[in-house]
Amino acid sequence: MRNPLRSEAEAFRFVVIVLGFFVAVVLGKLAAGWWLGLAVAAVGFVVLLWLLREAAKPPERQEAPAHVGGASDLRILVIANETVGGGTLREVIAQKAEGYDEEVLVVCPALNSPLRHWVSDEDGARAQAQERLDESVGRLREAGVNVRGEIGDADPLQAIEDALRTFGADEVIVSTHPVGRSHWLERNVVGAARERFAVPITHVIVDLETDSAEVVD
């Protein structure tokens, strides 16, 4: 869900809508009394709710960011949380980067419980994510990969959008737990990401119990 009031322009649009709403209610009341005024208010309220709901819908499919650098340059964005520490994911990244002047950004969404999220108690989740990220980035650097890491938004789709805006990417790797253990797969994060972002997205399933990885598609 998208916040329908995010800027001055949207606040201004809201002023115009509220103005139209009250003008209609007052005209209804003046023309035929309280009941018409109330009816107009009820209809206007439903329309207002519908407009807010439309405005809250996720944005349209976004264009792919422009390629940065020459033909041999490759920017890879990796979205992974608990699976970021898996050795096999690092191998997949290293394989994809092979033969390119690569630049890899690993974004680790700081997953949190809903209660902690609503009370803005994110520090623990971010600290844990940072720990996993530091370890993974350190090992990728040891493997010779040009990489840096960031903590991202708790919503993986939002984390991808944020990273695409600041980093851009030729390719995105989304790493998840296997089916049945992955909340992201339950929420169809990979499918939603493919619908929303016009960037090639590779889905890697990492099983930390067996330390194995599988490139699904």
């Binding site: 916040n3 009031l5 995010r6 800027s7 001055e8 322009a9 606040a11 201004f12 809201f14 002023v15 509220v18 103005l19 009250f22 209610v25 007052v26 009341k29 005024g37 630049e103 994110e122 971010r126 650097r141 040009n146 840096r148 903590i151 938004d153 939002q158 959008e161 944020d162 805006r165």
Partner: protein, 201 residues
């Protein structure tokens, strides 16, 4: 090693603030503040509707009390127009038009000031006082609360206007206009609700 990574390794002091591109933290702060303000206004509206609906007087306003609907209507038009001018100001600076920004801010400030002065004159000539009865109390409380918000909005606009004339804003950096602009729109929306419920309906 990338320049970013190098900078991060040499960074000293507290970590950067958590931030997402969902909404700018400063803008979000203003929206959250406005949400609390809506609750404050809600309590005043509750008092108005309680007096008006629960006690159900036969006449509203009570016999012998008259509200200057036309003057307040013109005042409403002035305030609503000021929302358009602040929006114009912000649109101008986003396009790099500093003169449009200055003109928009000055016009908005003058219209807000006109509204406040007119409301002061209305209070002086209205012919009743807050302590007369429940109707007059709710009238002065609601319009007075709104007037206080207009005053705060004017203070913010005055600061934004001074900064605009000093050249502080650019197409990339204009939060100093955007955030007072959001507050000003809130003040406008609240007045539309106050005028419709107190003066007309």
């Amino acid at each position: 090693m990338t320049a970013h990574a190098a900078a991060a390794e040499h960074h000293h002091g507290p970590p950067p603030a958590h931030q997402s591109s969902r909404v700018d933290a400063r803008v979000l702060g203003m929206f959250l503040f406005i949400a609390s303000e809506i609750m404050l206004f809600g309590s005043f509206f509750t008092a108005l509707f309680f007096v008006r609906v629960v006690k159900a007087p036969r006449h509203w306003p009570p016999v012998g009390f008259h509200l200057p609907i036309l003057v307040a209507g013109v005042n409403t038009a002035i305030l609503v127009t000021s929302s358009f001018t602040i929006h114009w100001a912000l649109t101008s600076i986003k396009r790099g038009n500093r003169n449009g920004l200055k003109a928009g801010l000055v016009l908005t400030f003058l219209m807000g000031l006109t509204f406040l002065v007119t409301q002061g004159i209305e209070y002086a000539r209205i012919g009743f006082a807050p302590h007369d009865n429940a109707f007059t109390t709710t009238f002065f409380c609601l319009t007075g609360l709104h007037g206080a918000h207009v005053f705060v909005g004017l203070t913010l606009l005055a600061m934004a206007t001074v900064r605009a004339f000093r050249g502080h804003y650019s197409p990339e950096h204009h939060h100093g206009v955007e955030i007072p602009g959001i507050y000003w729109h809130f003040v406008d929306v609240m007045w539309i609700v106050v005028y419709a419920t107190v003066y007309i309906l």
